[in-house]
């Protein structure tokens, strides 16, 4: 029976993780500085437009997470390695968090601009449905008793869900454009002045670094969790 002490990765060996943590913190701090001190005030929307610098990266990461789930799910079903399922689980948690952030920032930004907390605009609606798909993903894993079956089912959901997202977006967009609606003004009408573009890119990069850091942490947690479960199983068998 393997000893318990040799199976756990010690935090001390994860020097690169600490570097990543520091890098994320610094880059996010830099982006916040840029957002408030460097980026110019928007002519039409005023200060509230600065929320967009959070909203867009969050949206990007929400959908990137689902893409990661999609690829990991295929790899998991085809190859069967537990690491793909771990990656999917980790990306799912992060994706759900960022989807929530997108919806909330979108709503808070929309209230002063559009006068309403919510609008059934195609992108926001698709993101809301994505949020529900993530929720279904977690419910599925939670309710299926056998973890291995749960992983397989979740993988199928990940694949079907990802393929469905563009179709959902398209159908919602058609639904909106062929349907009378209040006028919705997107802020990306005129081209962005370069200071805004720079701020946007820096924030996007900062959030990506943060994302990689969080994903790495979460992945290691899941690996440890799997090992703990395995150990527990072995102990129950022989102990």
């Amino acid at each position: 029976m393997a000893t318990v002490k040799n199976t756990v990765r010690r935090p001390a060996t994860a020097a690169w993780l600490s570097v990543l943590a520091a890098l994320s913190f610094l880059s996010v701090a830099l982006s916040v500085v840029l957002i408030f001190l460097y980026a110019p005030r928007d002519v039409d929307q005023g200060e509230v437009q600065r929320l967009f610098y959070l909203h867009l990266p969050a949206a990007w990461l929400a959908y990137l997470s689902f893409f990661i789930i999609f690829v990991s799910s295929i790899l998991y079903l085809v190859r069967g390695h537990a690491r793909w399922d771990r990656l999917a689980r980790s990306a799912a948690e992060l994706g759900f968090i960022f989807t929530t952030v997108v919806l909330l920032t979108g709503s808070i930004w929309g209230r002063p601009i559009w006068g309403t907390w919510w609008t059934w605009d195609a992108r926001l609606t698709t993101t809301l449905i994505l949020w529900f798909i993530y929720l279904g993903y977690f419910l599925l894993r939670a309710y299926v008793a056998d973890p291995e079956r749960g992983a397989r089912y979740a993988a199928v959901l990940g694949i079907v869900g990802f393929v469905d997202i563009p179709i959902i977006h398209m159908s919602v967009r058609w639904w909106r454009t062929l349907h009378p609606q209040p006028i919705v003004v997107r802020s990306e009408g005129p081209a962005m002045p370069p200071e805004m573009l720079v701020t946007m890119i820096v924030t996007l990069v900062a959030f990506c670094i943060l994302y990689v850091f969080l994903l790495a942490v979460k992945y290691r947690i899941e690996t440890t969790r799997d090992e703990v479960m395995e150990l527990r199983g072995t102990l129950e068998q022989y102990g």
């Binding site: 079903l77 279904g136 309710y143 079956r149 199928v156 469905d164 062929l178």
Partner: protein
Amino acid sequence: MSAWSQFIAIVKRDLLLEWRARELVLGMLVMTLLTLLIFNFAFDLSGVQRAASGSGALWVAIVFATLLGWGRAVVLDRQEGAWEGLLLSPVERPVIFIAKLVSMLVFVTIVELVALLVLAVLFALPVLQPGVLVVVGLGTLGLCTLGTLFAAMTANVRSREVLLPALLFPLAVPVVIGAVRATTLELNGFTGDAAPWKSLLGGFAALFFALGALTFGSVTEE
């Protein structure tokens, strides 16, 4: 036994069992008719806007009936080890998928025909025209392909009644949007405008039919 005869055998068995028990179709039928009834009181199904409300009511009723049908069907299938027996037999998984899909389509179609008759007679909606029937067919196909896959997943899960809709509804949004829109347009006579929606429904059904057949094996490994 060829795949075709296996397929026929499974479908025949499902239809035969249902013919004897009749609980699935009757249950779905009752659900559909009650939903239409409630919708009549909730919305104005006899007023000027009744094409839109009527098609909305129809599709909500179909979605709920399909959910109910799938919930019951997977339970019935797993009685007395019949499902395990089927999985142990040398039938290819995609064949089982298609067979289950077709059986459910037969049941849902019966229910829908009655619902359409009710809409035609009680609410004076011109539903019995080819345009509407095509939309109903395509939309049902889309719903049932997703349903076959996810019903198999949630068959042995606790809270199946909650989990199946939680998984199905978000994914089926394009079908609901497309089907309701197309039905409304057809009822109002704008068949040309309904064409893009019909292609959306058809494409959706084809895509998830393929995807479902491919992944059904992963869902039914034991």
